[in-house]
């Protein structure tokens, strides 16, 4: 095992991929400078600015450029600095990248990765803190992964770069710099494979990205109260590993779904809708969802802290599935 961080794991995987395949390119704003979070630091020095390409502030065009390069055999890894600005590239991503293979009757391939980061908690305010992954789970032709720890980030990024389809890779800014242990040479993680982060028999908690850690913390507190929660990190939203969730719910008969995104219209709704349909008779309680309230992200620290879903909300939701009051 080696010590690393989420940022270092992504950085190292990008470097390995570029060493292994000269068709891999890194494209984005300030990427040759490492970007604001040092995710791409050192790549330009090793691979040159021909393959680590700084761009102007032109999100739509650089997404199109990545699509075209991918259609001509390159494997671009595009960085959109904040997921909030994916809004500017969405026509290219949704109308072109996601549909090119289908519309061409299978002739075109778009083996690109769109890396971006989202999430609140660092006082980024309303335009630098959003979690918008749910939109992209509604777009046939895209795959979407959302790792919660360094090892999965490395393994999933490898698989994403190798994938012949456009893959959206969603990072969380507040996971970047924590110290983590990873295997010396991380295996690729299969896209679409879930991970059981904690085993338990009383309630299943499906959590995304930052909420995996929050859910594990909640699980410890629940355990202190005699409740054993199973925490599942699906890691991939599209294609979603439903079977892993169902298998667990059939044992626990209770489900909490937790993400940081606004609850209303979030991906937790899809998970809840699928599970209630596939495991109706197994459920002993309503599926509880944990997510942000239907508000933009506020700047003011105490208001943002109150806004952000965390271990407390997961803890209360899990207790609710057992008919217990929050505590």
């Amino acid at each position: 095992m080696a010590q690393t961080s989420f940022v270092k794991a992504v950085n190292a995987t990008l470097a390995e991929s570029m060493r292994a395949d000269e068709n891999v390119l890194v494209i984005g704003e300030d990427v040759a400078e490492g970007g604001p979070y040092t995710v791409t630091a050192g790549l330009a020095e090793e691979f040159g600015t021909e393959r680590v390409i700084n761009t102007p502030i032109s999100e739509a065009a650089i997404c199109g450029v990545s699509i075209g390069a991918a259609q001509s055999g390159k494997r671009p890894v595009l960085e959109i600095m904040f997921i909030d600005f994916v809004t500017l590239a969405l026509d290219q991503l949704v109308n072109a990248a996601a549909k090119a293979h289908f519309m061409s009757g299978g002739q075109l391939r778009v083996p690109m990765v769109l890396r971006t980061q989202g999430g609140a908690g660092s006082r980024g305010a309303a335009q630098h803190s959003q979690s918008l992954e749910a939109w992209l789970t509604h777009v046939p032709g895209l795959k979407l992964v959302m790792p919660s720890r360094a090892a999965d980030a490395a393994g999933l990024l490898r698989s994403a770069i190798a994938d012949p389809n456009p893959v959206v890779f969603v990072e969380h800014k507040n996971l970047y710099f924590r110290k983590e242990e990873v295997p010396e040479d991380p295996e690729p993680v299969e896209i679409g494979s879930a991970r059981v982060a904690r085993q338990g028999s009383d309630v299943t908690i499906v959590a995304l990205s930052r909420m995996v850690g929050e859910s594990l913390a909640a699980a410890e507190r629940l355990a202190a109260g005699g409740i054993e929660a199973e925490v599942i990190d699906p890691r991939t939203l599209v294609p979603f590993p439903l079977e892993a969730v169902l298998e667990s719910v059939r044992r626990t008969n209770r489900l909490v779904v937790a993400h940081e995104a606004v609850e209303h219209g979030g991906f937790g709704a899809e998970i809840a809708a699928e599970v209630q349909n596939a495991a109706f008779d197994d459920l002993d309680a309503p599926i509880e969802r944990v997510g942000a309230p239907f508000e933009p992200v506020p700047l003011s620290p105490p208001v943002e802290d109150a806004y952000l879903p965390g271990a407390d909300e997961v803890h209360a939701a899990a207790r609710a599935t057992l008919g217990l009051a929050p505590r």
């Binding site: 390119l25 021909e50 393959r51 761009t55 102007p56 032109s58 739509a60 065009a61 650089i62 997404c63 199109g64 450029v65 990545s66 699509i67 075209g68 390069a69 991918a70 259609q71 001509s72 055999g73 390159k74 671009p76 026509d91 290219q92 109308n95 072109a96 090119a100 293979h101 289908f102 519309m103 061409s104 009757g105 299978g106 002739q107 075109l108 391939r109 083996p111 046939p140 032709g141 795959k143 190798a162 994938d163 012949p164 389809n165």
Partner: protein, 331 residues
């Protein structure tokens, strides 16, 4: 079409081939108009009748390994780039033997074998994508170029300027071909911008640019030939603006109340096909008989395409389901 990779100046043989291309496009599209009214081709159909000289003059000088991207008015570009007319027709009919198995349709023609990398229904949407293809060509070395066709309406979309800036910043082998027919849907260019010429819009970027009479095949051929040679030599991106006229409505079914149709007399003067036949005759490249033969051959080919399409079966929903995601190639 690869046979012409060496040709620069026009000769009798080249002229004949270009005339063939233009007649095929013209008759193909007039037939498509009829089929649309008969509900045998489907979706939003945009015809380029009157604009054939641009497709012919440009694609006639490209190789199969040069990539072409187009927009919503793409039939001519596809045919000129070498896409089999029968498979284009089958695509418009939504048939399994269509270029895209009938899943894409008129605005999404793709034939990678002939370097037709895609049309799009998003105005200007393929301009940055074409630049990405040019970036790949640059990195791969060689002298491959990428051409993107777009209309005057696309120039006011932000992704156009973003792409021009990037193309010049990176000096990529991209040839931007604007078919300026003076209208975007139902509104004239004057309602979209104060900058009349597209070649003027890009002036600050110092890329080689030129505006030609797009109904004059000779002019398109000559200017594009020069640009192509420069881009093959990696002298950076270029923009060719072709002033032309869309004879029909914006889409098939458009009542076109927003403008006056050209007088037939006036049109005969401007028609790129008749004009080219006149000048080719003057150049002694072909006579009326030869021209008539070309037209007749094209008409037969179009009918054959209609038969081919009509005979082809519709794709199955299962086929569509299999086309959403690409499978990794083994190895």
């Amino acid at each position: 079409m690869s046979t012409t990779k060496t040709k620069a100046a026009l000769d009798a043989e080249g002229a004949l081939r270009l005339l063939q291309t233009m007649w095929r496009i013209r008759l193909f599209e007039e037939r498509v108009g009829q089929l649309k009214r008969a509900d045998q081709v489907h979706g939003l159909i945009h015809l380029s009748v009157g604009q054939e000289a641009v497709a012919a003059g440009v694609c006639g000088q490209l190789r199969d390994d040069d990539n072409v991207y187009s927009g919503h008015r793409a039939h001519g570009h596809a045919i000129a780039k070498g896409a089999p007319m029968d498979r284009v027709m089958a695509e418009l009919m939504g048939r399994e033997d269509g270029l895209c198995h009938g899943l894409g349709g008129s605005m999404h023609l793709v034939d990678t074998e002939h370097g037709l990398m895609g049309a799009t229904g998003v105005v200007g949407g393929n301009i940055p994508i074409a630049l990405g293809s040019a970036l790949a060509a640059q990195l791969d070395g060689g002298d491959q170029v990428t051409v993107v066709f777009f209309g005057d309406g696309a120039v006011q979309a932000g992704h156009f300027n973003e792409t021009i800036n990037l193309a010049t910043l990176w000096g990529l082998p991209l040839i931007l071909v604007c078919e300026n027919n003076g209208f975007a849907e139902f509104t004239p260019r004057s309602a979209h911008t104060k900058v009349e010429r597209v070649s003027e819009v890009v002036a600050p970027y110092e890329l080689t640019r030129e505006t030609v009479d797009g109904n004059d095949l000779g002019a398109v051929w000559e200017a594009f030939g020069r640009f192509l040679a420069a881009v093959r030599k990696r002298e950076g991106p270029v923009l060719l603006e072709c002033l032309t006229h869309r004879l029909r409505g914006h889409y098939e079914g458009d009542p076109a109340h927003y403008r006056e149709a050209l007088a037939a007399e006036e049109w005969r003067k401007r028609d790129p096909i008749l004009r080219f036949q006149r000048s080719a005759a003057e150049a002694g490249w072909l006579d009326d008989q030869a021209a008539a033969a070309v037209e007749a051959e094209a008409r037969e080919a179009v009918e054959a395409a209609v038969e081919f399409g009509s005979a082809s079966s519709f794709p199955s929903p299962e086929l569509a389901a299999r086309m959403v995601y690409a499978e990794s190639e083994a190895g």
